[in-house]
Symmetry: C2
Amino acid sequence: MARRTERTERTERTERTERADAQRNREAVLAAADALFAASSSPHGVSMDDIAAAAGVGKGTLFRRFGDRAGLIAAVITSRLEPLQRTVREVQEATGTAPRQRVLALLDTSLTFKIENRNLMAAAEDAGLSSPYRAQHYDWWHETLRAALDQVPGVHDPDFTAHALLATIRADLVAHLIDEQKMSPEGLRCSLAAYVDNVLGGEGG
Amino acid sequence: MARRTERTERTERTERTERADAQRNREAVLAAADALFAASSSPHGVSMDDIAAAAGVGKGTLFRRFGDRAGLIAAVITSRLEPLQRTVREVQEATGTAPRQRVLALLDTSLTFKIENRNLMAAAEDAGLSSPYRAQHYDWWHETLRAALDQVPGVHDPDFTAHALLATIRADLVAHLIDEQKMSPEGLRCSLAAYVDNVLGGEGG
DNA sequence: GATCATACGGACCGGCGGTCCGTTTATGTG
DNA sequence: CACATAAACGGACCGCCGGTCCGTATGATC
């Protein structure tokens, strides 16, 4: 929207607008990477050359755009996560819901996302932006969950609890339970719900 | 013990006994690897060549002995873990202790171990033998914890709960909380204890 | 001290992440 | 439409690393 306008007043702006071919390529790379990671059970099976080839661009383009492998993966995740984040925010800010339900919904949403994108998420953890390390995703989930936990009476250490609960649904654990132990996604969500319910305190309400 | 005897009757045995220099080298490699991983915050900072050089052996020796990087790391962990496992087994089999205390002790022991060896454990997770994947360590911890949880009334899904609790003390999370968030080891153990106590159920006893 | 299985070590290989730079192109201008 | 230029492109290239191979050295055995 209003791209022409922006460019006209570019002398004022610090950021230039994205060139058309650059935008096409960026989207192609993100799509290719997403597809390749989703298709490969092992992150190492997908090289940067593979992604470049699949996207029909040169390798240099990948690295100029995304910095490095971790940056690319982070970008893919961000693009996948953004719509979800909006939804989550709405649900969390809805006034009607009980705090416990909010926490539950949050974790279930995150789990479902990780189930659907578990190979991608495994690639992310593999690339070093695993749990807490330099991953804005993780920070966002942690912060959101902590805020929700704050509203639940009887939770003594929301910060640590948030870490612990997020650890419970780490991508590789999810992948293991589903792919190796043949647990069904529904079964997993169910187990998680029961576990969370337990953590939130049988007594405190 | 009785190595000479073993060797005398080697015609009967399938496994040959280890040559003296081989044993020396194996120990040197394990020690070197342990030291190097402990000293480096990032697993990638320690290459197989580094370990070989530090141990004063050729690279071929490393790979013949341990198969690959993951195998070497697993061996280091095993060597560190073995004494601990014996202790844990004793404590778990002691009849006097209450089930809840056993679970608590188990997790605290594991956490302490991971705090002390967090760089090594991070290297392990990095090498692909992270949580559930092909890591006999993990299986052992999981099985032991599950058995302990079985004895605690009010725990509905010991298998999943064991996974969840072990996830709470994953090496990189521990490393993050201590090294980045500057949480103290004691504080962490304390938070974990409270969390576990919570999970075991405020009501069920 | 001879023999022989076993272990040693480091040159070597393939692949991967990441860089560099000569070439191409989208965009704004007259 | 031709021109100028900033921006983006792409793939050859580099260094590193995990892993292999094989000629050599050595501990065990008799």
